[in-house]
Symmetry: C2
Subunit: 339 residues, 2 copies
């Protein structure tokens, strides 16, 4: 990954303050074991929580659906125009949503080796097309569920927005359209995508890298990763005795250590355990990515999607101090100069 | 519309020569009288013709499908990897596809008045979201049908690509990603879209305006408009005695006149007849847009989709001289200095 400052868009318009960037983890919003299937139940709860977190006092207000598509089996589109008459435009604070691929895109990408490049090969070119179809299908589904919940969501593909890489590292990323969409009152919904690579032709740009870049430029108050487990554990959470790490501190050099629960050598143990089962970039990548965001002074919460804990994290309720009954992992920068 | 030169991207990469920009007219690829319904039969024929026109000698080759999505009712994705082994990458000449909205998007846009702007109103903001959901749904469907036909199609939304307007006139349009996609061997598929407007907040950017701008910068050899009638008539084609205009000549000042069939005052008659029934920008807008493209020295063919005539137009077969048995409308620049 190049230094983010080198990929800065030169004329990024002044954006209104961003409250939160949310990552909808692929495992949390799709069915892991079924190809190209959205976890609708989870996604609907996540959308409802996002709405509650985003729109002040939205609990008492009627939801104004923004997906006016024809429903299966119906011949007409219905949108209740009356709903709009007595509604004032609520000031929704700015959120940006980024989602992973889960059971979308992976099959197509791995079968063809899109991440390794080589667009001159028919298989890779076909896989690139197939991967983009799969991830944009998921993106559209997510945008629609959010819109039904009254969130003014706008799908934005990193490929179309001009994001590209060089030897798999982010090379250019035009944030101007993302910033303009936010300033116009929309919630951009980005996603992990197949993109062009200057040196190897093409590759896969992960949602986590996108989040980090967005965080560096949009400087949100906090970042929330919604996953399918309670947070980061000291070993695979399926193992007996796996311990949930409640708080991780990040040093200025990007290294990190476990603050809570306090235990000697916890950091080392995590690294070893994670490395053993996680070759494709799961928890360790997640901690590293999160640490790089925390280093910017932005608190990161890793929390289980569609739980009371995720609602509290999204609402910013745990920002000042972490309640004892809140389950999740906080990753924070520790400025030693202030100690 | 501002002078196109003022919206020029400053650093448009050198693109390989574009053979053809194709407009898939909304009326030709969707069912006019049924909301949000694709005309699958037409779209499949159009895709097959595009493939034949695009890929030299593709007639004898097996189609290598590039949509590897899960089919309804199946639990697995099938892609025959063997197909790729014995295939060399055929040199497909560069095409760009732009489609209209047809029965997608119009309901959402007109109900909310997205074209008139006013994003501070909840109704307009919701309509903007709903319109984008509808047109991107259509875009994804078209990309998938093209990909199934072996065309390496890549959906690119003008909104995400940074296209915006000022008082409804095109203000900025970043063509760099479109150019890069073409250079990487893909076929960009753009569409009429809801976009941001500097002065009024938002509006609708039509596929025809997109085509004109693309033509000005990509300088294709020719442009084909696929519609649901044989071409441009001297009056609404449903009227008795409506005459198909076979050839229209465009002057340097953008004015135009009918060359074939030769008839006195034909031009004037068309204008009057068209204006009477066509308030929303149908044929007259189409001729004006086409005339502006022709003025650049690029031949424009307006032809009925999914016919033998459309295949001949797409293949460039009618370029040197128009065969007598070809039905359609040619719009060409007449450089008087050469007369």
């Amino acid at each position: 990954m190049e230094d983010s400052t080198r990929t800065a868009p030169l004329n990024l318009p002044k954006t209104k303050p961003i409250r939160c960037i949310v990552k909808l983890g692929g495992a949390a919003i799709t069915c892991k074991n079924e190809l190209e299937k959205v976890n609708e139940e989870n996604l609907e709860i996540v959308s409802s929580q996002l709405r509650q977190a985003m729109i002040t006092g939205s609990g008492s207000q009627k939801v104004i659906g923004m997906d006016w598509s024809k429903r299966p089996g119906k011949s007409e589109i219905s949108c209740e125009m009356d709903n709009f008459e007595d509604q004032t435009l609520m000031d929704s604070s700015s959120f940006v949503v980024v989602h992973g691929a889960g059971s979308f895109g992976h099959f197509q990408a791995s079968k063809s080796g899109v991440h390794k490049g080589g667009l001159h090969k028919l298989l890779v070119r076909a896989g690139f097309v197939a991967t983009r179809i799969s991830v944009t299908t998921l993106n559209l589904e997510i945008v629609r569920v959010l819109a039904r919940e009254g969130i003014p969501s706008i799908g934005m593909s990193p490929f179309s927005c001009g994001w590209s890489t060089s030897e798999r590292n982010l090379k250019s990323a035009d944030l101007s359209m993302v910033a303009k969409a936010i300033d116009s009152g929309f919630v951009p919904v980005l996603h992990g995508d197949a993109v062009l690579d200057v040196l190897q032709g093409c590759t896969i740009l992960s949602g986590d890298v996108i989040i980090r870049h967005l965080a560096a430029y949009l400087k949100p108050e906090y970042v929330v990763f919604l996953t399918d487990v309670l947070g980061v554990y000291d070993r695979p959470p399926s193992e007996p005795n796996a311990v949930l790490l409640r708080e991780i501190a990040v040093n200025e050099d990007g290294s990190w250590y476990v603050v809570k629960p306090a235990r000697q050598d916890m950091n080392k143990q995590v690294e070893i355990t994670v490395a053993a089962h996680d070759t494709t970039g799961g928890m360790e990548t997640k901690i590293s990515e999160a640490a790089m965001i925390a280093k910017l002074g932005i608190d990161v919460y890793i929390v289980k999607a569609a739980t009371s804990h995720s609602l509290r994290a999204l609402s910013g309720e745990v920002r000042s101090s972490i309640p004892d009954d809140w389950l999740g992992t906080v990753i924070r920068f520790v400025d030693k100069r202030n100690c």
